[in-house]
């Protein structure tokens, strides 16, 4: 059931190539709120506002999982949502991408609460993680670009060490 990290990595890179080739300029997003405080949803909604204009990049929101290529998951994955989350994921046609959005979904806010799984990765196979509380629309745009293989990751090169500068 659990593939090795190498297999997962290889499958993930294959998936990204497929997604980039098939969904170059038309990718449909289904959002899934698994108990978030709705600030992530506010930022996601702002993506369609004129300042960010998500549609210019070929991303669209859809209410139907059967039409969706990408599942944008927010919240710490409450246990009461298990069935709905699984059904949503299974209803999506392949190839599909799961993006965990926000600190809750990454296990940063409710890591040990008994009513939640703690992070989205415990229930769904997550392909891209977007940190932030909430992630700004710019961060979400970067995450979506990473998810379809259009933008490069910066995170492995960042150290979060400040050298000198202002005290």
């Amino acid at each position: 059931m659990n593939p090795s990290p190498d297999e997962t990595e290889a499958a993930a890179s294959r998936l990204r190539e497929t997604v980039a080739a098939q969904f170059g300029r038309s990718l449909h997003i289904r959002t899934l709120d698994t108990g978030s405080c709705a600030v992530c949803e506010q930022e996601i909604r702002l993506l369609t506002a004129p300042h960010y204009d998500l549609h210019r990049l070929g991303f669209f929101f859809t209410p139907a999982p059967r039409h969706a290529d990408l599942l944008l998951v927010t919240g710490p994955m409450v246990r009461a949502f298990d069935v709905a989350a699984r059904k949503t994921y299974e209803a999506m046609p392949g190839p599909k991408v799961v993006v965990a959005t926000g600190a809750c979904a990454l296990g940063g806010v409710y890591p040990k609460d008994p009513f939640v799984h703690g992070d989205v990765g415990q229930v769904l196979p997550v392909d891209v993680w977007i940190p932030g509380c909430p992630p700004s629309p710019l961060a979400l745009l970067h995450g979506l670009g990473v998810a379809v293989g259009r933008l490069a990751e910066k995170t492995p090169g960042l150290t979060f060490i400040a050298d000198g500068g202002a005290a």
Binding site: Y52, G108, C133, A139, H142, G145, V146, E153, I161
Partner: protein
């Protein structure tokens, strides 16, 4: 007056050019902290770990472990240790590997 507003009045377009070009509003975002290892002592690290409301910070011997994915950019570590912490200014943090978000900060301050 934000630059995008001035540009919008001139050209009739408010839409950002991101990701093709950088966006000025990125400078206004709250971003995760960056740490200065030469100012960082075990005591300061423990203060920051205690102040952190989530599991983002922990200390193992002379290493401060910073989980960027768990960070909410609340700024409490900067309040308890202002000489150690500054804002990183990084918002393009999306990654395909959760482990890439866990950073190790060496503790070099306090004569060690």
């Amino acid at each position: 007056m934000p630059l995008w507003f001035a540009r919008g009045l001139r050209r009739g377009v408010v839409t950002t050019r991101y990701p093709a070009r950088p966006d000025e509003s990125a400078a206004l975002l709250p971003t995760p902290p960056a740490f200065r290892p030469d100012q960082l002592t075990r005591e300061a690290a423990d203060l920051m770990v205690a102040a952190c409301p989530g599991p983002a910070l922990s200390r193992r011997d002379d290493t401060l472990i910073f989980d960027v994915g768990a960070c909410t950019a609340c700024g409490r570590c900067a309040q308890v240790a202002p000489r150690v912490v500054s804002s990183s200014g990084e918002f393009e943090l999306a990654t395909t590997a959760r482990s890439a978000l866990i950073k190790k900060i060496p503790i070099r301050g306090g004569g060690r």
